[in-house]
């Protein structure tokens, strides 16, 4: 019997967990290492919006189509951690009204099932909306629990033989005589000892930290950590996701989650995403945006504030574009290091698609013909991750 191909994934965020799931189904023996735990970085700190694609249907239709396709797939395979009540785009001024026809045309072009309703009907559905709204469009948005979604992918990977090594910080990469990657050395932060992990392919799935990890071996990956702020308030004032009917901007999405609503977000660049201090001015900015969408936010208490560092790709650099939303770098092509691949960028809603395309690349590199099965495979209970 031929031995199984072995993959080492660095990073246990959405990308790493979904990729572990995909590669395990394709017959790989997968090891996932993370210096923290599942979703300790950007993934855990997303606002949890399961995009309908509406946010991008005017400016970036490729991303919008990807979102609606993945939205439908995730609702099917990961319903255990998704509250699906749909969403609303609301127009609040003339600028938004002028955007409405573009939005409707974009949604149709991207096959996003939307429905324009009257402001009165919108207020019946969501009584806490700003009563001055001029237009409203229903979209198939949802909300997921970030940690549990990542755990569900991880648990399913584990069921199929993958191993997860949380609190293992990669410190060195191992190379063979021809300079190709054959594994990594990681520090187990529980016991303070170093361990070697060897495999046929090493995948850097560290998102906003991808540049930092690649620099360990002197490689440049053009990822800029681009944090945004999220503020949670202590009342569930809406049941649907409320979006501003305009181009993507600051503080334009208010999502319900458990007994809260969460508003996001902003965008600025940092060099090191390890610790991002809370910006008090941005907290005020988010509060104002939230009150504009749903005035009753002014009667709630702030419950939490957090910063999440998106992995934004500097587009002028080279790299194989699998989609405009995320990129996969085969370091054989750029630096002549075989056995080392970096996947970064993307958004939570499309994590399964990112994993599929990365796994396709890994398989073609290793001459393996297995096909992707993640679209049809329901994820097992996220809790199963804890007792393997």
């Amino acid at each position: 019997m031929p031995t199984l191909p072995e993959a080492i994934i660095i990073g246990a965020g959405f990308t790493g967990c979904a990729l572990a799931h995909d590669l395990s189904l394709r017959g790989f023996k997968v090891s996932v290492l993370d210096r923290g735990e599942i979703a300790s970085g950007t993934s855990g700190r997303t606002h949890g919006l399961l995009h309908s694609g509406g946010r991008y249907c005017v400016n970036d239709q490729e991303a919008a189509i990807e979102c609606i396709e993945e939205n439908i797939i995730l609702r099917r395979i990961a319903a255990q951690c998704i509250e699906y009540n749909g969403g609303l785009f609301i127009g609040l001024n003339e600028r938004d009204q002028a955007y409405l026809p573009h939005f409707m045309a974009g949604a149709e072009a991207c096959k996003i099932p939307v429905e324009q309703i009257t402001p009165q009907k919108a207020l019946q559905l969501e009584p806490n909306l700003n009563p001055a709204l001029l237009s409203a469009v229903l979209v198939p948005d949802g909300v997921f629990d970030p940690l549990r979604l990542a755990l569900a992918f991880a648990a399913t990977a584990v069921e199929n033989g993958a191993s997860f090594f949380p609190h293992h910080e990669v410190q060195e990469m191992l190379f063979n005589g021809s300079g190709n990657a054959i594994g990594v050395v990681a520090l187990n932060r529980h016991d303070g000892k170093k361990y070697e992990f060897r495999g046929d392919i090493v995948i850097n799935a560290t998102g906003a930290w991808a540049g930092k990890l690649a620099s360990l071996v002197g490689i440049k990956v053009p990822v800029v950590p681009t944090p945004g702020i999220m503020v949670a308030y202590n009342q569930r004032l809406v049941n649907r996701v409320i979006n501003r009917l305009f181009e993507p901007g600051d503080g334009d999405i208010l999502i319900p989650q458990r007994r809260m609503v969460v508003i996001g977000t902003t965008s600025f660049e940092v060099e090191d995403p390890d610790y991002i201090p809370l910006d008090q001015d941005q907290i005020k900015q988010m509060y104002d945006c939230a009150c504009h969408l749903v005035p009753a936010v002014s009667q709630t208490l702030q419950r939490g504030v957090y910063m999440s560092a998106r992995p934004l790709i500097k587009t002028e650099m080279t790299g194989r574009s699998l989609s405009r939303t995320f990129k996969c770098y085969d370091h054989k092509e750029s630096e002549n290091i075989d056995g080392f691949v970096t996947i970064t960028g993307g958004k939570a809603t499309t994590c399964r698609a990112m994993a599929e395309k990365t796994a396709d690349l890994v398989c073609s590199k290793l001459g393996i013909s297995a096909i992707c099965e993640t679209k049809e495979t329901p994820l097992v209970s996220y809790r199963k991750f804890f007792w393997h």
């Binding site: 609190h167 932060r189 016991d191 049941n239 610790y275 809370l278 939490g304």
Partner: protein, 244 residues
């Protein structure tokens, strides 16, 4: 806006594998409107990279970051520094009680997750059934076509605070019993009945209500345990009279 910076001292529980436990002290400067989890992350980022702790969502939906802050269970991501100490003050940070420590502030909660899974507790429920039994329901709450993630975030803080869990490791614990109550909003299943109507189940609770006091998420495990006892007794009485 508020640019105040406080100097605070964090005394953090440290344990690596089977080595001796000790406390380590760090002094940091931080805006008091940031949260205890931010302070711990700052210690890790700038003072000691070997510190292990668990965190994910940073806004009380995932339940990963429960710890003891000055001896009391707190969800550290929503506990502002201002609410637990003062300028030049101290913070004592320890892992949750009643779970094995894996290292530093990380505990092994797998037994709780296993029990929650056995109960068949779902994280997503219809809006009416996701509310507490005594809650005043608005028109919105009656709309069963809406669903939402339930209140229990499986943080384990109620088990950490429970005096019975402290003395009896076989006790199912408040989180699991509350989940059973939640899962049994429909007629009581024999499976759930068997799990909760047992020596290590409902009847082991001493009504200390520490669970409800520390719950960051409105679950009210204490109340749910009492409600569940009523349901089980009603079930027993019914059974007594229905015997042919």
């Amino acid at each position: 806006m508020n640019d105040t910076i406080w100097t605070i001292e964090l005394k953090i529980f440290r344990q690596r594998a089977d080595a001796q436990r000790y406390f380590q002290t760090f002094q940091i400067e931080i805006n008091p409107d940031e949260y205890v989890l931010d302070a711990i992350e700052k210690v890790w980022a700038f003072h000691d990279r070997s510190l292990t702790f668990r965190h994910a969502c940073h806004h009380s939906t995932c339940g990963a970051c429960g710890m003891l802050v000055n001896g009391i269970e707190k969800l550290t991501c929503i506990t502002s520094i201002r609410s637990v100490t003062q300028n030049n003050g101290k913070l004592l940070i320890e892992p949750l009680r009643n779970f094995p420590v894996l290292s530093d502030l990380v505990v092994d909660t797998s037994s709780m997750f296993k029990a929650l899974e056995e109960i068949g507790f779902n994280q997503v429920a219809s809006l009416p059934s996701a509310c507490l039994p005594y809650e005043r329901k608005t028109l919105e709450h009656e709309r069963s076509e809406y669903q939402r993630l339930v209140d229990c975030i499986e943080c384990g803080m109620c088990i950490s605070a429970c005096p019975v869990s402290l003395t009896d490791s076989n006790y199912l614990g408040p989180a699991v019993l509350a989940a059973a109550h939640d899962a049994s909003s429909q007629p009581l299943s024999n499976k759930i009945l068997e799990i909760v109507d047992s020596r290590d189940g409902l009847w082991r609770c001493h009504n200390a209500f520490e669970c409800s006091a520390v719950c960051p998420s409105n679950v009210e495990p204490g109340l749910r345990i009492m409600k569940m006892r009523q349901t089980v007794i009603a079930h027993r009485i019914k059974k007594l009279f229905s015997r042919g």
